[in-house]
């Protein structure tokens, strides 16, 4: 189970807590949390592991849920730099790679996913340059999502090909014996 930092009502970073301890701390749906491996601070309700805190069984009456969420930098970075946040990761290189590589694996349909990734990835920089950090972050997440979907399907596809090759080799081996197999390899 991960241990989380969270941002309290005064904007102070606190941590680390297990999900159960977070509940006792009284975090809300829109409390920003962060744990190792996360790209950005996220609202607690968007974090899979913390989702259960807000299910009906766990719900406690909460006073002020209407406060707008505020974004903060990661722990360790100065909170003074909120205005000049670094550009979110663009994922351009990755999305370009998952667009080109499927062509080599004869799964050109996958490239469509890569192209969606590219479109979002290109938006990250334009939004950021326009000063719209939230939109930029949103595009970055979408780009990451599509790129990763394409990547995992590609990995599954490669695994399938490998299995097919092994099955094929076993099949040929079983019907013609090892000598026959060698002949096949040498053609």
């Amino acid at each position: 189970m991960n241990r989380y930092f969270y941002i309290d009502a005064e904007g102070k970073q606190k941590g680390t807590f297990s999900p159960e301890e977070l509940r006792q701390e009284g975090i809300k749906r829109d409390t920003l949390v962060w744990t190792q491996g996360m790209e950005q601070w996220k609202r607690a309700e968007e974090t899979e592991e913390l989702n259960f805190l807000f299910s009906d069984a766990y719900r406690k009456p909460l006073a002020s849920e209407d406060q707008p969420p505020v974004r903060y930098d990661r722990p360790g970075e100065s909170t003074e730099t909120q205005q000049i946040q670094p550009m979110p990761r663009t994922w351009l290189v990755e999305s370009i790679l998952v667009t080109i590589l499927p062509f080599m694996l004869c799964s050109s349909i996958l490239s469509l996913l890569g192209i969606i990734g590219i479109v979002y990835a290109a938006q990250v920089e334009s939004f950021y340059n326009r000063g719209d950090y939230a939109a930029s972050l949103e595009s970055s997440r979408s780009a990451a999502k599509w790129t990763k979907i394409a990547m995992w399907i590609a990995i599954g596809w490669i695994a399938l090909i490998i299995i097919a090759i092994i099955l094929f080799a076993v099949f040929i081996g079983s019907i013609s014996g090892l000598a026959g197999m060698e002949d096949l390899l040498n053609t």
Binding site: G37, L92, V93, E94, S95, I96, L97, T99, I100, L101, P102, F103, M104, L105, C106, S107, S108, I109, I115, I118, A121, A122, E125, S126, I158, I161, A164, I165, F168, A169, L185, T187
Partner: protein, 126 residues
Amino acid sequence: MRKELKIGIGAVVTVLVAAALYIFYTFDPETQPLFPKCPFLLATGYECPGCGSQRAVHSLLHFNIGTALKYNAFMVLAIPYIFLGIYLQYFGGKKRFPSVEKILFGRWAALALLAFILVFWIARNV
């Protein structure tokens, strides 16, 4: 990302790439039935932008650059581009050559690449 995880992924990728290179060197995709076939080509009879890239890789591994270019010129040119991208993103090239990344993997490069793929796609089928 944790360091052990990074090393693990690196090891798996290295083994897979080595295995793939060995397979592509030993077997000729032209004559062997065990290589994946392009669903687009089977369905429409037209070649997709990637058709021929496996044969091209086989030829490249045997240093037949001319044959490789004939099979799929785009993919032969894309290979150094792919390696450059991986280097820039995962081996610190981004920090050392930020301008190269900006030009070759920027927004306009991505757009130009898509346009190029489209043109190549049409051109090889007419």
